[in-house]
Structure formats: C-alpha cells, structure tokens
Point group: C2
Chain length 343, copies 2
Amino acid sequence: MSTNAESPASTTREWQLAARPVGWPKNDDFRFVERELPDLQPGEVRVRNTYISVDPYMRGRMNDVKSYIPPFQLDEAMTGGAVGEVVASRSDDLAVGDTVLHFDGWRTLAQGPAKNYRKVSKVPGLPESVFLHVLGMTGLTAYVGLLDIAEFKEGDTVFVSGAAGAVGSVVGQIARLKGAKRVIGSAGSQEKVDLLTGKYGFDAAFNYKDGDVREQLAQAAPEGIDVYFDNVGGDHLEAALKAFNNDGRAALCGMISVYNATEPQPAPRNLFETIKKGLTLRGFTVGGYYHRFDAFAAEVGEWLSKGDFVYDETVVDGIEQTRDAFLDMLRGANVGKMLVRVG
Amino acid sequence: MSTNAESPASTTREWQLAARPVGWPKNDDFRFVERELPDLQPGEVRVRNTYISVDPYMRGRMNDVKSYIPPFQLDEAMTGGAVGEVVASRSDDLAVGDTVLHFDGWRTLAQGPAKNYRKVSKVPGLPESVFLHVLGMTGLTAYVGLLDIAEFKEGDTVFVSGAAGAVGSVVGQIARLKGAKRVIGSAGSQEKVDLLTGKYGFDAAFNYKDGDVREQLAQAAPEGIDVYFDNVGGDHLEAALKAFNNDGRAALCGMISVYNATEPQPAPRNLFETIKKGLTLRGFTVGGYYHRFDAFAAEVGEWLSKGDFVYDETVVDGIEQTRDAFLDMLRGANVGKMLVRVG
C-alpha cells in the first residue's frame, strides 16, 4: 500500500458554475475559486490534473434539465474528462506516479475514491492527452457511432458534419481505414476544410458557411450518401436526409447548432424522406457502449502506432483559461480536440 | 384455357388526374370519363372491380415528384389497390369467376396481363374487401412496421397515432395480441376514441383535437412509451419523442399532417431527445417487405377467423363517389378502412 502523508499540495483551484446561463453563457455565469481539500481518507487518492477536456455536451449540463447525465450543481466545481498523475494515495489500487483518466476536470487537484480513477498505460511516443480524445471517450464515440449505430459497411459513402472536431475527425479516418467508398466532411472554416482533405484523408469537404449545405453536399456526393454521422443537427441533418440513398443510416451524436438556443428549434423540414427512402435515424450517447472500449482501443491504437491515424489538438495553457477555452470551443475556434493543459 | 369472346362489358368508367393539385385538391383536379377498352389480347384478363381502395399516400402521387412510387400521369386513369372478379380471360393462369387483388383501382373495369392480378382465396364469412385492408397491404404495413421496423417485444408500451385508421387499428390489435404492456391511440374524434378503447381493445386513447398532444400522451402513458407507430408526424412525433423511455423505437409510416402542405413543414423541435435517450427512428414503406406476406397472412388470418381481431370499413357506394371518398378520407371522415364499392 502506497500512502503519502505529506502530499505536495492541498489547495485546488477550480471552476464553479455561479449561475445557469440563458442562451450564450456570460463570463459571470462562472466563478474561479481556490479551495482547501480535506485530508485524504482511506481508499482515496489525490490527483494532479495535467490535461482537462472541454466538450460541447457540457453546455447542456449547465441547464437545470434532466438529461442523460445530471446537470452541474451551482456553486460546485464542474466536472468532465481529465487526465492526471496520482500525487497521494491511501488505496492499494493506485500508486503515486500512476497516470489516471477520470471525470474530475475543471480543477487543478482532484480527490476521491480510487475506483473513480482509471489507470491507463501511456502509449510510447504519444502525450497522455490522447486519452482525452482519440484513445478516450471521443474516440470511442466515433467508433461506436460509425460501426454500431450507423452500421457502416465497406463501400458506403459517409458524410460527417463537424468533421474537423474531436469526434468527426476520428469518424472520417475510421471510415477511410475500413474501406469507405467516399468520405465527405463539413466544417466551419477554409483552414479546417483543408485539414480534412489534406491531413485526415477525406475525399471531399466543404465550408458550411460558404453556401447552402444541401447544395454543397449534393456537389460533394453526386451519388448520394449511405451513412451520416451528425454532430450538428439542423440544416446539416436536413441536407443529409435529402442526399441519402435508400436504406441510409444516420448516427445522431450531437446537435451543436441547437445547444445555445433558448427556444426549441425546428428540426429538418424533410423528415418525410425517412419514409420514402427507408432511412434509420438513431441517437446515442457513449455511456451505453463502454463494453466496446477494448475492441476500439486495440484497433485505433494499432492504427495510431503505425502512423495511419492522425489527430489534432488545440491546447490552451493554464487552468485560468478553462472558461474561455470552453466558449471558444463552442464557437468552433478549435482544430481537433480542445484541451486545457494545467501545467 | 378459358376464353370469353362475348365479354359482358367493354366500357370502363374511370377517374383521371386532370391537373396536379396545389395544396388541398380541388374538384376539377379530377375528371370522370368513360372509355372503350381495346380487345383482349392473348395472356390478358378483364376484371370487374368490386371494391376500390382510397389511401393517404395517393395524395403524394398527385404531385410531380419522384417518390417511392411514381407520380400519377395526367389525363390517365389513376391507380391503386382494388379487388375484383375476372369477367374475361385469355390467360391460362386465371379463369372467369376468379377473385383477384390488383392495382388498377379508380375504375370499373381493369384489363391487362394476368401477371398483374393476384388470385386470392376468399375467407369464409368475410367479404372480399378484407384483401384491401386487414389481409392486404395495409395489414402487412401494420405488421411489418410494428414487428420488423419498431422491433416490438412483449411488455412494451405502444403508442399509435391515427389509431382508428386502416393501419393504426391493425397495429394496436397486433400489439395487444402479442402481449403489449399498454396500448395507447390517438384519433381525431370522440367517436373514434370510443372505438379504440371499446372495439379495438386499446388501453387508453385520446382525441388530439381536445388539447396539447404532449400533455394528453403524458397522461395516457404515465410510465412513458417504448414503441411509437407514426401515421401523423408533426406534433404527434414531437409528443412521442418527449414520452419515449430510453432505447425507444419509432416506425415512421406516414405523415398525414404534412401531405397537403405547400411548404416544407418543420419537424419536431425536440429531435435532440433521440440522442439523450438513444432512440431509433426508422422510416419504411411496405414495398420492401412483401416477403413477410405469408407469415403475416397466416398469423392475422388465424386471429380473424377466431374472432380475436376486428376491423371497421367505411364503404362508399358508387364509382362516381371515388374522388369525394378520397378527400373525405384525407379529412379523417372514415372509420377504419375507406373503400368504394363499385356495385
């Protein structure tokens, strides 16, 4: 058993939710505080966070609405994916120095029962931040959504919206590596579009701000699409419904277009296409698919180690920047996974 | 070989599409004409129609839009399900007196290659009109939609919109006979609501004109729903998304709420529920599922013969009434299957 009475630090700095945002979050909806941690109890560990994840779904947790995960509590530290190093342990399961993946983000020091912290093995040559995206939950989300939910099969033409994002860029690469006929992505800037067709190996990509999404998708997919991986909703889903071939399948993963709306947003106006074409639209969250983690990590880990699979990170330095990093991510300022390096 | 040189009649009376309706069809979008049939050619049969089907999907065929079946042609007789009796035959496959199911509706006399006419065996005690609904395509639509598309399983709570219609009333009864926990239906009049809970054995039903569909469904399904069979779209689909339990499944069969709209209609505003709850929305048309006909006919035929399964017909007399019967059906005037008896 590894214990460590003189832990190197016991003051955590953390981001709390001060008020529930209405529409676009304001700066004073958040509060940055210092807090003294209680003494470590038997079975607990203390973790110094190295990387913190900021993700679109967190916006939903700021509302007081029952969802697939509970809302953030006011005046408490927010939570989310993080990776860190064990700095003190009163548990047999984890030792000082272990790298762990966990859900106590938005803070410098995390502390709690060892069972909440999953020990991971660093991949040689890769930073531990990969466990927060390509080899973590976002990678698993892409893998499950494409293969299990949309039932991708070799020869399919695949359209991914928000394709330069953390999930989308993984979806496109898995589709390519598994034999898609054609992979098409949408993104919100020319820089991202270039990344998609350059670095990530998409066959075609377009900037949705350049014009009507339906028209741009029709040009990029002259023979229609078989699979749609939806990170955006709204006009993108409408365009996909129009472009679908018969028996098409959509994995509905995110709808970033509606997260900050204060009123319910109309969905696609052409849902009747689902009947005409025998389409399947299937929503999911990754929570029900952790049992697929080992298959996913083995397959994607091998591609990563062989250099077949690439990724981008947008890393912001300093825990003080977490709020702004989160808001910038919602605005689409990131390329690939948006992360905060705690330092 | 059965031939019949002196056929009893060679003048058909038929409904043609005179103009493509914009919005709600006008009377003079249709034309009722008499036409002399050509002589019967080798391999052909002539059929005197006894019952003609009018169905919601026909409205879509009046538009010049590519859909899952081609549009009606202007200045030609419209088509659709019909049952009739062979009155002349130059085919070895069909004899005078045979009862046949076919697609040359909207007319008194049909004529063409024998392969277009399927011989059916009358069920003792039942009129031949059943082949146009419970033992025909609408029954198969209900069966496939509930079992194959929505993947109904014993113990599910099922919601059916347009439940007093030709498809909906079959869906509810199959669900009940296969062990649903609770079957809920919506309809557009108190008379239909009473039919649902009385004659068809639904556990609960409501009149969607009485108030907000979401609220009425929430009251009728306090523990949520697992399966939704959608004949309506719009507010009903929105209500179902809200009422769904996790892993719910919707069969999207029809969207009568949007058929006469001249502009694309916004779909449900809460499509994000599909992600939160892991819902599957699956559209279908029966055309891809004819291979299920035998299983369907055996199962439903046995229920019918034992009296476990009931149906309603709204029968309008006279081929001249076909247009009005069609429009009345779109307005919801029918109870159960809307038919025209040719006489």
